[in-house]
Symmetry: C2
Subunit: 430 residues, 2 copies
């Protein structure tokens, strides 16, 4: 087990401003480029019912301007400084970030601090941007049966928790979002005490902390961070199946969702074993499902497993597959469930599991090896309420997973009786 | 078509107090007993996410006392006056009502007005009553697979609208309901302008109005009625199936839910045809489903159709069945869906539909023929935001339904592609 891939990751510098803002720094001497981001502890799961899409809509509006940078001059200014900027919204996180020459870091921090508290929204801008997000929804979801299918599966998977709502928002509700909705959400959630500053680059934690006090530190920390009180999922008592057909579908497919813990939530200690299990079953040629259903039996064109443990309240374990010609998605699904049941009855070999663990840890380390990638990963953990030490110890936790752990978590979580399965098929028009 | 059963119902007296409270009176000379109720325009669908069960919990707490009637003396006082009282909570309505000698009507009105605005809640009472509603939930739902099954079906049927939440509340959320939650809900929704007073008995509308001004009229009407802005259902794009098994189940069953309009909502003009359709397909020996599946084919022990159009935002059309020995619920369901598809392809005979219409109107008129029943029916309509004239014209609307209407609404609403079907089966313990 003495493998470098299972060594702990370097822990970041962690600090806190007097106004409550968290500061996370990953010094990286390799390039004169800095990654700078502000991660807010708010996402689509914090929207009020009936206001879906608001978190993502506000993310768009944050580029519209402040007194200091009116008329959408934020991004052009970053570009002029030799940088690039962007943002993303998830169910739990809304993040704004830039890659900039380290020489302009403090200026960009001042700009980001400015829009944390001085956002200006014209009614015209709001109306125009609403059309933009509606168009985004049309393109990415309404024009894609696969995206609609995921949206429907998700809505059925969560019966009570807001994770069941679409990140983009339901169309009717986006249409109703107003300037007042956006500003109220902004005022409620965009505070230093609800944000994590993350910087990676050729700079020390103390230097960043000083810069941050001079910029973000000017914002009063008079608002306590909003509580994340979200409706939770009641116990699951039924299997759910969803069938959707659309003339635009190419290959039919199935997806099965199982409720699983998130890394930072209750049961998160099973996260590493679930990650290894997904790899073991996984979709590349070394995965059990691939070998059995694609290579040997030729029942599937594609098949795989995925574990998403990076949310605040719940994780999900997904098995998906595209059947081969002449096989129905229902048939493939039935055989896969039977295969999983057999898997749960027999402990895999230690050697096989070690190979998977090394591949998983190796691939992850590779992905973290760029300026900002490790910092982003830590920033997500901290924003979700998780611990940096636990995140740094992730490779060790992967190294400690045993074949018995895989069987245990497979039996614990992959229960078809509490799963949701969707079948997406091509609709044959009469 | 000249049948007395299709004549309009007598319209009630309608008035309004100066504080905005609606007053609805159905004079009834037959007995010295009055039905008196206050219907609030609030129900489980108005609860905030994460606070399910609150509307029903508050209904219980409303019996706990005021300054004037402390220590749960409300019901004992009604009994002492020779009356009986009760209450109910639905997704849209919370109602408190009594049957009392007409001589004490004004006293009871004063009592009900008192608890509209002077509710007192001790922390001890709240904690004790929370145990009562939790116990109610255990008995009525958690101990009943059929009730759990309906709860799960409902949760899957509505993906966004709060009708998907259980009326009783999810257990975990009931456990978290506090005195402050109850009082905040009370203050938000319990106002004269958000209530309908309903009286039936040997008394005129003007007399009730005068009594009401002397009692309810004392309450200031400074709060505008709360808006009913609820998340709406997005377009349905997928068929959903739910499977639940439990060792306590006797006969297996299936239920299929189709989205339908409510009488007071968009598309409500199809309500009468849906009511007649439910009767035509219905579960008694004259219903098509019964004749085919129970009597002739002997595939089912019980089968039927029901239409619920009495909610504010959505109605539901339900087909349900219990298969005969040796028939699986899936098989019965498949055959019923095929039967419905055939039904939608052929117009039934005028004679047959006339018989159903007369039976439906006749049964309804019979049910309305008791002191208070017609008033309750009107009170529900008014509380949901519907029109009394439309409600009075219901028998005429039933009389006007044509065989072509039945085919039209069957094809419009009974689309298996947008349905939710649940299968409840006995779990065989290994």
């Amino acid at each position: 087990m003495a493998d470098g891939r299972f060594s702990p990751l370097p822990e970041p510098f962690m600090g806190k401003l007097s106004n409550g803002m968290d500061v996370l720094v990953v010094p990286d001497r390799r390039a004169p480029v800095a990654y700078h981001g502000v991660y807010y502890r708010v996402g689509a799961a914090d929207e009020d019912a009936g206001k879906t899409g608001l978190a993502h809509f506000l993310e768009h509006l944050m580029f519209k301007g402040t007194e200091q940078f009116p008329e959408a001059q934020f991004s052009p200014r970053v570009a002029k400084l030799g940088g690039k900027d962007n943002a993303f919204t998830s169910a739990d996180i809304t993040a704004y970030y830039q890659r900039v020459p380290i020489s302009v870091l403090e200026e960009v921090m001042a700009m980001e601090a400015d829009r944390m508290t001085n956002l200006r929204l014209d009614e015209d801008d709001v109306v125009a941007e609403r059309d933009v997000v509606l168009e985004e929804r049309s393109t990415r979801i309404d024009n894609s049966p696969a995206a609609q299918f995921r949206e429907e599966l998700n809505a059925v998977f969560y019966r009570n928790h807001p994770y069941g709502r679409p990140l983009a928002g339901w169309r009717k509700e986006i249409e109703g979002l107003s300037r007042e909705d956006a500003l109220a959400f902004y005022k409620r959630f965009y505070h230093p005490s609800n944000a994590v500053l993350v910087v990676a680059g050729d700079i020390s934690g103390q230097e960043v902390l000083a810069m941050a006090e001079r910029t973000y530190g000017k914002i009063l920390g008079d608002n306590p961070p909003p509580a994340h009180v979200r409706p939770q999922e009641p116990p699951i008592r039924a299997t759910r199946i969803l069938e959707m057909s659309d003339p635009r579908v190419g290959n039919p497919q199935f997806s099965t969702y199982f409720m699983a813990p998130s890394y930072v939530g209750e049961g998160g200690e099973d996260g590493p074993a679930l990650d290894v299990l997904a790899r073991r079953l996984g979709n590349d040629p070394s995965g059990l499902l691939y070998r059995h259903f694609v290579r040997d039996q030729k029942k599937a064109l594609s098949i795989g497993a995925a574990y998403y443990g990076g949310a605040r309240d719940h994780g999900v374990f997904i098995i998906y597959g595209i059947p081969a010609e002449g096989v129905s998605p229902e048939e493939l699904h039935g055989q896969v469930m039977a295969f999983l049941s057999e898997f749960g009855a027999k402990t895999p070999s230690q050697d096989r599991v070690e190979v998977d663990k090394k591949a998983l840890a190796g691939a992850t380390l590779l992905a973290l090896d760029s300026v900002g990638a490790l910092a982003q990963s830590y920033a997500r953990t901290v924003t979700l309420g998780g611990s940096v030490s636990q995140a740094a110890a992730w490779p060790q936790a992967i190294g400690a997973v045993t074949p018995e752990d895989l069987v245990r978590v497979a039996n614990k979580y992959l229960d078809p009786k509490t799963s949701v399965t969707g079948f997406l098929t091509k609709e044959e028009r009469p």
